[in-house]
Amino acid sequence: MTLTTSRFGTIEYTDEDILTLKDGPLGFPGQEKYVVVSHKDGSVFRWLQSVDDPGLAFLVLDPGVFRPDYSPEMPTDVATELELTEQTPRIVYAIVSIPPGNPEGMTANLAGPIVVNAETRFARQVVVHDPEWHTKHPLTEALPSASEKAAA
């Protein structure tokens, strides 16, 4: 299938590429279907491109890349809904925000990670109650390659 997007032009995808984000991200009710797009070869960043809205995409990364200690508690209702057990392979994405034109202001949201059951490709944005994790963890200094770019 083909998807025309505002950021990436035309994308080819199959049904197996689709990730179903139940209820959509907070603030985007009903935006449930996404295709995962690599930012560039070798990049730690991915994009979740909406299948239904060509202009809607979220930049994400594995929070373990800059916070290896990140392992928020999984709410029981989400684990049940996503059929996640200890053994289920899962993917966690943190949504990254870059103010337009200001890469140094890049932050990652660790209070609202997207948790994916890698077998079923069903996902949900989880609300983390631990005050250690908030919505704006600075990323520019945490990622060496990013800080080099900011310095350049």
């Binding site: 950021r7 990436f8 991200p25 907070l26 603030g27 985007f28 930012h39 560039k40 990049s43 960043f45 994009w47 809607l56 995409a57 979220f58 930049l59 709410p75 029981t76 209702d77 989400v78 049940t80 809904e81 949504i95 990254v96 925000s97 870059i98 103010p99 337009p100 034109g101 200001n102 890469p103 890049m106 949201n109 209070a111 609202g112 944005q125 609300v127 109650h129 908030h134 919505t135 704006k136 520019t140 990622l143 390659s145 990013a146 770019k149 900011a150």
Partner: protein
């Protein structure tokens, strides 16, 4: 908005399954206990709003601003 007056240890029911109990009142703080089925998600309103706001900001991110 429905407004109810409750005393400590009194509760309200929301539908048949959700109970909200006033546990303690101390100055301007109220501690609430919530009994709800496991499939009902309960959040503090502030964190929910913060994540929503953050998602809306994040959706403006453009590829040309992403570091290599």
């Amino acid at each position: 908005m429905l407004v109810l007056t409750r005393k400590v240890h009194q509760s309200i029911m929301i539908g048949d399954e959700i109970e909200v109990v006033v546990l303690e009142v101390r100055g301007e703080q109220v501690r609430l206990g919530i009994r709800a089925p496991k499939d009902v998600t309960v959040h503090r309103q502030e964190i929910y709003s913060q994540i929503k706001t953050e998602n809306i900001e994040a959706s403006k991110t453009q590829p040309e601003d992403v570091p290599e």
